[in-house]
């Protein structure tokens, strides 16, 4: 197990390097290949109608004229050893891990990421709990009442959940529950838990439900399919033959087997969301990682994009690892090697 984890961590680090190189290439190599000059790139990061001198200054300051390898080396060195950076009257130290400074608002990337993480965590974890509980319960009930009105109704709602865009459901739920009925606070009211737990909760209810709706729908369908399959397994018949109550058969025998593959998907989904729930965060104006990265992409803010990409990749790798280990714990047939 330890050897397994060590191996996986090494693989993960390698993967992060590859991801960072790829992101670099997308932002530097491809534009250059398409004929973009360093000046052309720099012109995005200065005020409009900037003088050629100002653009040259930006090229130098952002090192856009250096070969890609040198730039990448600088970036990698910053992560390991930190970096010095001029803010004008003096130099400031960007301590390791230094992911650089935003091209657009000059904020250091790493502290920004850490600052945005709690919002994303709050959103992802809260929504995950809701969708897991709701999705699985609906899926189980649907499977057990297969073909009934309940089943068909649940699956129709699930289909809607899967196909409606969050942007739409989010704005509609805001219009209804926040601005018309006034039950929940409106968009942009996210407050950190440490500041005001009650407000934190109230402000997150709608985003949670909106995000969870999509996933719950997905999970209900998955659970239903898995449950139907499991209920046909021989060992379920055995459990019944022992004289077990149906409730026990479902909860102890069927659910355990059904949930195992769902656990895998769940782990990966949560891992993915920790890299930012772009649509939900944008819709509800939650200052999370997803909102950060979508704005950074729109603003060609390479250091931020790179930082979030690595951050997200880290969570995905971590989620993979956790899922693998958990799977081994849950399913005794799986051996980590």
């Amino acid at each position: 197990m330890v050897a397994f984890i060590v191996r996986r961590v090494i693989a993960a680090v390698l993967m992060l390097v590859i991801v960072s190189v790829a992101t670099f290439a997308i932002f530097f190599l491809i534009p250059r290949a398409l004929g973009q000059t360093p000046e052309g790139m720099a012109s995005r990061y200065v005020g409009r109608d900037a003088t050629p001198e100002a653009i040259q200054g930006a090229v130098k300051r952002l090192h856009l004229d250096e070969p890609l390898v040198v730039q990448y080396g600088r970036f990698a060195k910053g992560i390991v050893a930190g970096q010095e950076y001029s803010i004008g009257p003096r130099m400031v130290q960007c301590p390791a891990p230094c992911f650089g400074y935003s091209f657009n608002n000059n904020q250091p990337v790493w502290p920004t990421l850490l600052d945005r993480l709690p919002a994303t965590l709050s959103l992802a974890i809260g929504a995950a709990i809701i969708w897991l509980v709701a999705g699985v319960s609906i899926g189980v009930i649907s499977a057990l009442r297969r073909g009934t009105l309940t089943d068909r109704l649940a699956m129709t709602v699930a289909l809607a959940g899967v196909s409606l865009p969050i942007y739409f459901t989010g704005l509609v739920s805001l219009a209804l529950f926040a601005y018309t009925l006034g039950i929940f606070p409106g968009g942009g009211s996210y407050t950190p838990f440490t500041e005001d737990p009650v407000m934190w909760f109230q402000a997150l209810v709608l985003p949670w439900v909106t995000l969870a709706f999509l996933y719950a729908a997905l999970y209900a369908r998955l659970t239903r399919a898995g449950m139907l399959e499991t209920m046909g397994e021989d060992y379920i018949r055995t459990a019944r033959a022992k004289g077990l109550k149906e409730r026990t058969v479902v909860s102890k025998h069927a659910l355990r087997a059904t949930l195992t593959p769902i656990l895998t998907i769940f782990g990966l989904d949560v891992g993915l969301l920790l890299g930012g729930a772009v649509l939900t965060e944008s819709t509800f104006s939650i200052p999370g990682i997803g909102k950060l990265v979508i704005d950074a992409i729109r603003g060609n803010d390479l250091p931020v994009v790179l930082g979030v990409t690595l951050f997200a990749a880290f969570f995905i790798v971590l989620a993979n690892l956790v899922v693998d280990v958990l799977y081994a714990v849950v399913d005794p047939r799986v051996r980590l090697s």
């Binding site: 060992y235 018949r237 055995t238 033959a241 022992k242 004289g243 025998h253 355990r256 005794p332």
Partner: protein, 351 residues
């Protein structure tokens, strides 16, 4: 066994009367069991044989009430120790399962839950019917594993099914089924997929245990050899129906149905290569949705011409041939016996 009556005949522990289990499917009604009747006493063993798909498993699950609540259409009567089970409430039948009647399933790997240890699964079975602590149940589970011949049962009790060999798994399955001393034990192909030595051990074990508990035992197989040495009576199933029933001796030494002859002929014998089987049954098992008209066996029967066209038009009745020996064939008894004595038996012995 012949005419159903309102109450069970005295002395019979299990009795099926005209049991029918039909499954409505998209393709049509699957008549998996279609009018099955038999009787079994305590301490006795009934062997049910028949090809794959003849309805053996469906019958045994039907007895345990495991089709209840599903889409199966069940009719007829199942009497167990004076109680009728077809009409009984599912929850009542559930309380009988495991304790009053238990089952050893066909494929022990898929029939045991992969995520729970063998011990946990036996403990669970025991504690459903016995209000004891986990520790007591665990001790019992270790006992049971020891009794079925698992070495180091106190260690293996914590193993998972996939960590057992096939034979050990089957033993564990038996230990689980026997953990509550069932009065009726149904073993569904308990030895398929096991090698011959292990097969013999397992069969011996079951007989021993049966004797110990004086339970009624049903052994299901499509392999006549397996039941030969264990069974008191044998029931031959074909297409959801009983086509021959009798004492083991009758079936082995005086079989009267052409299908049974085929089964005997295709018995694997140690002194012969399987390819040299004397009389393999040609053709495929019948569809249970569109059962062949007349005698269900007629498309595969070499003797159907000898029944004067009745084979394809009229369903033969299960008729008593000798004391308790029942056969479902249009051919007259004498002709059947003559064919067996003059044509089949010499061929089987000769080769």
């Amino acid at each position: 066994m012949t005419t159903p009556s309102a109450s069970p005949a005295p002395g019979s522990f299990l009795e099926l009367r005209d049991l029918r289990i039909h499954f409505p499917t998209e393709d049509g009604l699957v008549k998996s069991v279609d009018g099955l009747s038999f009787r079994l006493e305590r301490g006795k063993t009934l062997g049910i044989v028949g090809e794959s798909g003849s309805g053996k498993s469906v019958t045994s699950l039907g007895i345990l009430g495991l089709h209840k609540g599903g889409r199966a259409k069940i009719s007829g009567e199942i009497w167990l120790d004076g109680e009728e089970l077809v009409g009984a409430s599912p929850d009542h039948v559930r309380t009988l399962r495991g304790k009053k009647m238990a089952m050893i399933f066909q494929d022990p790997l898929s029939s045991m839950h992969p995520f729970y240890t063998v011990g946990q699964q036996i403990i669970e079975a025991y504690r459903i019917h016995h209000n004891v602590s986990k520790a007591v149940a665990r001790k019992h589970a270790i006992d049971m594993l020891g009794r079925v011949g698992i070495p180091q049962p106190d260690k293996r009790v914590d193993s998972f099914p996939h960590e057992f060999s096939g034979g050990m798994r089957q033993r564990a399955m038996i230990a689980m089924a026997l953990s509550c001393d069932p009065e009726l034990l149904i073993a569904d192909e308990p030895t398929t997929a096991l090698d011959v030595t292990v097969q013999a051990q397992i069969l011996d074990l079951m007989l021993d245990l049966q004797r110990e508990f004086n339970s009624a035992l049903i052994i299901i197989t499509h392999d006549l050899g397996v039941v030969a040495e264990l069974s008191d009576d044998i029931l031959v199933m074909y297409g959801g129906k009983c086509i021959e029933y009798g004492a083991a001796e009758d079936i082995f030494y005086r079989p009267e149905h052409p299908y049974t002859w085929g089964l005997l002929g295709s018995m694997p014998r140690l002194d012969r290569e399987p390819t040299e089987r004397l009389m393999p049954i040609k053709g495929t098992p019948p569809s249970l949705i569109n059962v062949p008209s007349g005698c269900a066996f007629n498309p595969r029967c070499p003797y159907r011409e000898r029944t004067g066209g009745k084979a394809t038009t009229e369903v033969p009745q299960l008729v008593e041939s000798d004391g308790g020996h029942l056969v479902r064939c249009h051919m007259p008894r004498e002709e059947r016996r003559a064919i067996w004595e003059n044509e089949i038996k010499p061929m089987m012995e000769g080769s």
